[in-house]
């Protein structure tokens, strides 16, 4: 079972250009768009992901979904696709969005492709504007202390706030916890 929490914040800007998409059928699939990190094409990228996640195409096998989205996305689009299925995660990143996994008291950058999961593993997926404000040690410490995904997110947001009072531009992230 997967528990998740998403955080979207203007970060002191008038406009929120990032986005998070979620589909739970047939398995949990997420997309995180780093629109605020793109020079142009953010609107087009948003449309592509909106259509894919609103229709049946999101149910495609991950490789096919990845290719389909990539073909439709504007050049230099920055986003990540993530699918949790059974006891594994598949991910595919383009540009300034990354995911980190906390397992066994350590943290790793989630690689593109397939990665096995165990109960208790935690994943944070966010734009560079979010993740870049946090040290690996801070992410691990907060993940280990937090009782759930929302608490973990709140701890990380507090750290970013301590640095820049959430004025650094759009902040977008997703926390996931694998439960037994």
């Amino acid at each position: 079972m997967i528990e998740y929490y998403q955080f979207k914040h203007n970060g002191g800007r008038d406009e929120y250009k990032d986005a998070i998409f979620l589909s739970i059928v047939p398995s949990m699939t997420f997309a995180v768009l780093y629109g605020s990190g793109m020079e142009d094409g953010a609107g087009e990228a948003l449309n592509v992901l909106s259509k894919v996640f609103a229709g049946d195409e999101v149910q495609l096998e991950f490789d096919k979904l990845d290719k389909l989205v990539f073909d439709r996305m504007p050049k230099d689009a920055q986003y990540m696709l993530l699918r949790i299925k059974n006891e594994s995660v598949e991910c595919s990143k383009y540009g300034g969005v990354s995911a980190k996994i906390v397992m066994g008291g350590e943290m790793r950058l989630l690689p593109n492709g397939y990665f096995g999961l165990n109960a208790g593993d935690r994943i944070v997926c966010g734009t560079d504007n979010f993740i870049g404000n946090l040290s690996d040690e801070a992410i691990i410490a907060d993940a280990l202390v937090a009782e759930n995904s929302s608490e973990w997110m709140n701890y990380m947001v507090r750290r970013i706030s301590d640095i820049n009072e959430l004025t650094c531009g759009n902040l977008t992230a997703l926390t996931l916890k694998v439960k037994a």
Partner: protein, 300 residues
């Protein structure tokens, strides 16, 4: 040839006694050396059984009064002789300023933690129960009229659990960066959460000094202990500082590496940090206490 018959009886007696004492001293020396050797071999066997990458903590500490009249900080470090079997417990408690008996509560806390040693590393909830029990006793006596903060680390087999109540510090220095591991339990956190949920920037959360008031502390009713549900991996040359806020209020986190780094021993780091705080000559310097733990490979 020496003619011993020329010595007086008294002199012969003295030489005899000296000879006996010399033999006893030599035998004692060998006895102690054998005992040490046996213990070292036993210890080495235990360490070898842990594997090649087994790390040992080197520990040093300071406890200073600052400009306060009383010492309201207290600390406890478990015996290193037990490290291989039970790990290391290091904790600092800081009596809450402005409230009476802060020094009594902090000492009661560390003394009670000492009494409950050893702790199960595999079951951090049991350590939380001990802390909550101490907190409940403080609450029963003072009914929120006094309290203390607490930070505690439990290090064993290259992993660390950490526990926190209030706004003292557990800091990890790794790769030249100092990171505060425990979040401060004050109103600022609650305000930031609300503002962030409302899509607001958070400058206002820091402007009111009253927001630094603690939401949780030892002696609070039904306190909530922040603790690691599973342990954090630690590596060679990691440095952990367990300290009261008197240290970080004077030396900010980003400046710590200047004084505490893996190139020097824990003792030197602790000395440098202590003098760094002292040399700031802060007129309102709070009590400041720090335990510096440097993880290193065993030389045995």
């Amino acid at each position: 040839m020496i003619d011993f018959t020329l010595l007086t009886d008294r002199m012969s007696e003295l030489i005899g006694t000296a000879g006996v004492l010399f033999v006893i001293a030599v035998l004692s020396f060998f006895y102690i050396a054998v005992l040490i050797l046996i213990n070292v071999i036993k210890y080495k066997k235990k360490i070898d059984a842990k594997g090649d990458d087994f790390l040992l903590p080197e520990i040093s500490y300071f406890l200073e009064t600052g400009k306060r009249e009383k010492q309201e900080d207290a600390f406890y470090i478990s015996p290193m002789t037990d490290y291989v079997d039970n790990g290391l417990i290091a904790c600092v408690s800081d009596g809450m300023g402005g409230l009476p008996d802060g020094e009594v509560v902090s000492k009661f806390t560390t003394h009670s933690l000492k009494e409950s040693y050893p702790y199960s590393f595999e079951d951090p909830e049991s350590t939380v129960e001990v802390i909550k029990d101490i907190s409940d006793k403080v609450y029963e006596k003072y009914k929120l009229g006094s309290g203390a903060t607490l930070v505690l680390v439990h290090i064993k087999d290259n992993h660390m659990h950490f526990f926190s109540l209030g706004d003292s510090n557990i800091i990890l220095i790794r790769d030249g960066k100092a990171t505060l591991l425990n979040q401060k339990q004050n109103y600022v956190s609650a305000i930031i959460q609300k503002m962030a949920e409302g899509n607001m920037t958070t400058r206002d959360a820091y402007t009111d000094n009253r927001a630094r008031g603690l939401i949780n502390f030892l002696g609070n009713y039904d306190c909530k202990v922040l603790y690691s549900k599973s342990p954090m991996r630690i590596y060679e040359d990691d440095i952990i500082i367990v300290s009261s806020d008197g240290v970080t209020d004077t030396i900010p986190l980003e400046k710590l590496y200047k004084y505490v780094n893996p190139q020097t021993s824990a003792r030197t780091s602790a000395e440098r940090l202590k003098y760094a705080v002292r040399n700031k000559k802060n007129k309102r310097q709070d009590n400041y206490t720090g335990i510096v733990i440097k993880m290193e490979r065993s030389f045995i």
